[in-house]
């Protein structure tokens, strides 16, 4: 585990190269980044700058070609596939651009799924999930399946799912890309509130100026490196 005062996420000299057919794509070229607990951070930059790749590496979804990605003091490159799977389940929350709820599960079942996978006690699970659904404004919609919810409502369920298990960091990949402005504003309100009141750490990958406006730290990537790292009061 990381020291209380240390970063919960630390990327050092991270390179990531993909092969796309015959072409090698250098998505990250020596990325250094530290994230402290409780941050509300947006990674931004033009298309192809490496935002999503960085998020995938922090989320233990992928491995760096070079350099180290350390989450809570553990180097992800040294973990087995199963260990990374457990790390994702227990320590990292995900909010995806396309919501990506499990279509056969209700809002409640989706929100509780990670806690289920962790084997959390049913009573504790119920209490936590109901409270979160209330928090994100979905009270009374627990039994609806994703296809019975609007895009914004689905994204709220995804937020509840992501933070239900108290992850050390929640990664959100373009979370407002598929919703209208009013809904985006509400989603950001919810995430900001969770960050402020519950100390949930959020890292966004985004193009959305509304997200950048709310973020307290904005890291701009260009060509796989940090071009600008701005912390706001």
């Amino acid at each position: 585990m990381a020291d209380d005062d240390g970063p919960i996420v630390k990327l050092e000299g991270v390179h990531k190269t993909y092969r796309q057919g015959e072409v090698q794509v250098k998505a990250l070229r020596g990325l250094d980044l530290s994230v402290q607990p409780g941050e509300f951070l947006a990674i931004t930059g033009p298309s192809g700058s490496g935002k999503t790749t960085a998020l995938n590496l922090i989320g233990a979804l992928d491995e760096p070609s070079e350099g180290s990605v350390v989450v809570e003091g553990r180097d992800l490159a040294r973990m087995s596939r199963a260990e990374r799977s457990r790390m994702r389940r227990d320590r990292i929350g995900f909010v995806f651009q396309a919501y990506n709820l499990v279509p056969v599960l209700t809002a409640y079942e989706n929100a509780e799924m990670v806690m289920r996978l962790q084997g959390t006690d049913p009573e504790k699970r119920r209490e936590r999930v109901m409270s979160l659904l209330r928090e994100v404004g979905l009270q009374g919609m627990e039994d609806r399946r994703p296809d019975q919810l609007s895009g914004g409502q689905q994204q709220r369920v995804a937020i509840a799912r992501a933070i239900a298990s108290d992850p050390v960091v929640t990664l959100a990949d373009e979370p407002t890309a598929n919703v209208d402005s009013a809904t985006a504003g509400k989603l950001l309100d919810i995430m900001e509130k969770l960050n402020r009141e519950q100390g949930v750490t959020f890292i966004f990958s985004t193009h959305d100026p509304r997200v950048m406006e709310r973020a307290r730290r904005v890291v701009r990537l260009v060509d796989g490196r940090v071009e600008q790292d701005e912390t706001r009061a």
């Binding site: 995938n56 990506n100 599960l105 990670v114």
Partner: protein, 417 residues
């Protein structure tokens, strides 16, 4: 499989109904496959059982007790000296429905103009019934024999009677070799002529009262060439045979029907082997259909599996999820099969198929008289085997798609937004 508290069975159940039409087509495939397998197996189980029972009724029963060397070289010298004691021992065993002593052997039948060699069978008519002696169900001219000591009486098959040029009341002389090796003859009158429907049987049948033959052959009052034991289920023949072997005196052999009639056993084994091959083909086709359904379904959901992997589902849990889907398909297929097949099965097990026209008037298979109506009556263990084969085929079909689901790469899945 330890998969944690992931609600996999519920998710799998809901998943298979996401594409209702595809699932119903797959279930229909399973139902059709099961129906074909039940039809084939049921006809086999019923027909072979019927053949064995027919053969038992014309020969030595489901279990036969005879001289140890009679099977290799049957002669009238090789006897069971105390058939009554053997019958008493057999009657106490479970599954035994009846016992009777019989004498069978070679004889020459002659009239003033014709003669013909045959194998006769001598019976005690008072100990026989339609359940033990098949010809009693035939078409009769005259009467069957009435007692073991009925004097000067013979029943002939219709073709045999025609070949000998005899009618009811005609005289026939039989000639046999007695226990001491002497040639002895007897004069009998034809009291019955029977048409069984089995041409070879009608051409060779010669039934004599056992009392008359015992006297002609110089046998003791309870001596015979065989004791025929009839049981309620031919599949118990080995067990009954083993139990009876422990109770009979030394000097006699106890054989189940398949050892006493190896030709028939071989014929049935060959036919059953063919049916198994056919059933395996059905199961392979069925498995291919299920594989196709599951594989397409998994490939369509690779991104979904990637997302699930991203939020913490392990490879094993994703594998188990698809195996659950596979199991549900098998279960729904089996339940659907029972529901869909029950009506036709009850009809076919009660009324059967009338094959008399296809048999061309001759109801004989492998030398055994047959009922021209084919019934579909499956043994419980055969039904269980089919169910197990369906489950196995379904689970095996699910293995590769399940493995593929477990290997879904979360990063690849998320990148394609």
């Amino acid at each position: 499989m330890a998969t944690g508290n992931a609600k996999l069975a519920t998710m799998a159940w809901r998943n298979i109904w996401r594409n209702r039409r595809r699932t119903l087509i797959t279930v229909f495939g399973i139902v059709f496959g099961v129906f074909m397998a039940v039809l084939m197996t049921g006809i086999g189980d019923s027909t072979y059982g019927q053949m064995i029972d027919h053969a038992a009724r014309m020969g030595g029963g489901h279990v036969v007790v005879q001289h140890p060397d009679y099977q290799r070289l049957p002669t009238l010298k090789k006897t069971v000296p105390d058939a009554e004691a053997v019958e008493a021992a057999a009657a106490e065993l479970p599954h035994v429905e009846g016992t009777t002593s019989r004498i069978t052997g070679a004889a020459m039948l002659a009239t003033a103009k014709h003669s013909q060699g045959t194998f006769f069978i001598a019976i005690d008519p008072e100990r026989e019934s339609e359940d033990t002696f098949g010809i009693l169900e035939g078409r009769w001219e005259g009467e069957p024999l009435t007692s073991a000591d009925q004097e000067h009486a013979v029943v002939l098959g219709a073709v045999m009677a025609e070949n000998l040029g005899v009618k009811l009341g005609s005289k026939v002389v039989y000639t046999v070799t007695d226990k001491g090796g002497e040639i002895v003859s007897g004069l009998v009158r034809v009291v019955g002529i029977v048409t069984t429907g089995a041409p070879s049987l009608d051409a060779s049948l010669c039934v004599l009262p056992i009392g008359e033959i015992r006297r002609s052959l110089g046998y003791g009052p309870h001596e015979s060439t065989m004791v025929a034991v009839f049981i309620d289920d031919h599949r118990e023949a080995d067990a009954v045979s083993e139990a009876l072997a422990a109770r009979v005196p030394e000097g006699v052999a106890v054989l189940p029907w398949n050892e006493a009639q190896p030709d028939l056993a071989g014929f049935i084994a060959m036919k059953q082997g063919g049916a198994v091959v056919f059933e395996v083909i059905i199961m392979v086709l069925l498995a291919a259909g299920i594989f196709n359904t599951l594989f397409v379904s998994v490939m369509e959901r690779l991104r979904e599996f990637g997302i699930m992997s991203a939020i913490g589902f392990s490879q094993r849990q994703l594998f188990a999820l698809v195996m659950w889907e596979s199991s549900w398909l098998a279960l729904v297929g089996l339940v659907g099969s029972v529901v869909a097949i029950a009506g036709p099965y009850i009809h076919l097990s009660t009324n059967g198929f009338d094959m008399s026209k296809m048999m061309g008037g001759s109801a004989e298979v492998a030398g055994v008289a047959m009922d021209p109506i084919l019934y579909v009556r499956i043994h419980p263990e055969s039904a269980l085997s089919i169910a197990a084969a369906v489950v196995l085929a379904t689970l095996v079909s699910g293995l590769y798609p399940a493995w593929r689901a477990g290997r879904a790469n979360p990063a690849d899945a998320i990148r394609v937004v």
